[in-house]
Amino acid sequence: MTSATKPTANTDERVKEISNFRNALIRPELGGIVGTVAVFSFFLLFAFDSGMFNSQGIMNWSQISAQFMIIAVGACLLMIAGEFDLSVGSMIGFAGMLIAIFSVTLGWPVWMAIIVTFVIAVSIGALNGFIVVRTGLPSFIVTLAFLFILRGFAIYLPQTIERKTIIGGVSDAAQGDWLAPVFGGKIFTGFFQWMGDNGIIAVFERGTRKGQPVVEGLPMLIVWAIALVIVGHIILTKTKFGNWIFAAGGDAEAARNSGVPVNKVKILMFMFTAFCATVFAVCQVMEFGSAGADRGLLKEFEAIIAVVIGGALLTGGYGSVIGAALGALIFGVVQQGLFFAGVESSLFRVFLGVILLGAVILNTYIRRIITGER
């Protein structure tokens, strides 16, 4: 078996020796799949009765995972294209603040606030990308600068305009708006009500919502996450553009020699990452009804961690959106599950570190098989 890892000049000898198992191993999603199975096995074993797997519990870690997924899809495609974006977390805070300022302070209709915010955020993404490809500076540094710039504005703008760092009242402004429910609404509410009526899920025991199910419907946050994962996966694996993403991150020079518009690909990926961060921000603002200057702190790293757990290489050129989505799921389930399992919550970071390390080591091993290096 070990001979399969050694590249030999004679291809004929090698053809028969590759086993199906090892073939299956050479997939970027493998780490994510193994991790997902392991994580769910543990929590089913140790936290089954804790409420983690009742309707509220499932909705809780699903929403956390969906949040991670939304930003992980953007970070994943960008990382495969060979770049990082450290400004994702600040972009979440900044974009959320823009919506609140536009809709509450300036009194614009919410749909217009959302659209203008998307335009501004995606333009900033484009600026990030443009600076990176023009100067040839590492994206790490350029986007680190934007991490501070955007966070700074997210604090400065509301302080200057409203003399506070949290702007509320977006929920009232969004009443009756046509675009707001696309981000903050819930679907399948009838189905959930039916499940509540039939005792499949718990219902409220008292108060004004007595008899309604504790989980009213499927939040649009989760719908967005699933949609972005599917779209991202199709773009990456099934289109010409996806091939360019791999090529741009695998070896930009080689890709240019083959006629791939590397700069365009990278800039578009920065824009897509900013788009994903804004989706996150809009869903959050619409759900909670307010924007805060500290929203999204450290989310850029959480996105990158999810992507790496999902099997992407930090060096670019290799990875999978499905893997990143599984990485986000693992991240969310572990973060929330440790509480249900009764583990001291400060240990969460230890677990995260262990999982991250394990994933990186596994990924390195997989890459060695692929490239045949020893």
Binding site: R22, F46, G57, S171, F288, G292, F339, F351
Partner: protein, 316 residues
């Protein structure tokens, strides 16, 4: 091939170990979860942790402390939802942003969990979300009271060192102080960040460019400790009027040394300890106090520091 399987099995065993440990800790009594808005770096909340731990021991109930690691209030909302999903007997939570947190808290109340609001928020908000009661110190009022006191001591201008600017309640303290003095807050509040070195340098820079400043107000040990160092460095210690919210080891020393004129003690211990006691008695015997509990403000000055000194940072 087998080596991979072995590695995976080993990794699995390592990951599983702490779970086995953790699940055996569960107690028989009622279970209460305290959710705060404080980031991990805020040491002041240690008193809260000790408070619920002591109450849990004394009452024979299981208690747990949870907080969003970065202080992100949207994350805190999820933690409240999660705490509700785990089906505890009661949730004790801060209400530092009504917009974000009222939804999850109302949902918890409606699903049959008793909630007590502590520390942040107002008694009115606590009533609106359907909580049993509010235990804490109304922030604006405390700031106002401090401002009135400072005005009596001849203060006309001040610097508010805000280390947690994204929390509205922090700003309310500064605003209350300004209103108590009867001056405009204006640019007298600085966003100091959480890093001690940065806080110290920002305070130095502010005092350097505004040497006429009469007083300094810090909002807790996070900003007070570096501010003490800053005053030590520029020689204004003992000269400038210095008041602070909350207590801590360094603050107590400062009060004793005469550098700090007073500390506003909101007695966080009570905010953590009393809700557990109240909830436990309510669940066991159905008894409930008829009113909100104000744990503060109390001004701590150089007189009668003994107990404070003994338990500073632990229970005080």
């Amino acid at each position: 091939m087998t080596s991979i399987t072995k590695k995976l099995a080993l990794a699995a065993a390592v990951v599983a170990a702490p779970f086995a440990l953790a699940t055996s800790v569960a107690a028989d009594g009622e279970k209460y979860v305290l959710v705060s808005h404080a980031p991990d770096s805020d040491s002041w909340w240690n008193t809260i942790k000790n408070g619920i731990a002591l109450a849990g021991d004394q009452m024979g109930v299981e208690v747990e402390y949870r907080n969003p690691p970065t202080g992100d209030l949207a994350d805190m909302a999820r933690i409240i939802e999660q705490a509700a999903a785990s089906g505890p007997n009661g949730i004790i939570t801060t209400l530092s942003d009504y917009d974000v947190l009222s939804g999850p808290i109302k949902a918890a109340v409606d699903s049959g969990i008793d909630v007590i609001i502590m520390n942040s928020g107002t008694p009115d908000q606590a009533r609106e979300v359907g909580a049993l009661m509010y235990v804490g110190q109304p922030e604006y009022d405390a700031g106002y009271a401090a401002g009135v006191r400072a005005k009596g001591d001849g203060v006309g201008s001040f610097l508010c060192v805000n280390h947690y600017i994204s929390s509205p309640s922090s700003t309310e303290r500064c605003q209350g102080f300004a209103d108590g003095l009867g001056v405009d807050l204006g640019n007298q509040m600085i966003d100091s960040g959480q890093d001690p070195a940065e806080i110290k340098n920002r305070v130095l820079a502010y005092l350097n460019s505004n040497p006429e400043t009469d007083a300094i107000l810090t909002l807790g040990p996070t900003s007070a400790d570096p501010t003490l160092l800053a005053l030590d460095e520029n020689g204004m210690a003992g000269d400038i009027y210095f008041g602070t919210f909350d207590l801590g080891e360094e603050i107590v020393k400062g009060i004793k040394a005469g550098v700090i004129n007073w500390g506003i003690d909101q007695q966080p211990f009570l905010q953590a300890y009393l809700p557990v006691v109240v909830l436990t008695n309510y669940h066991r015997y159905g008894v409930l106090p008829g009113n909100n509990i104000n744990s503060g403000p109390g001004f701590v000055t150089a007189d009668g520091l003994e107990k404070v000194e003994e338990f500073a940072g632990e229970y005080r």
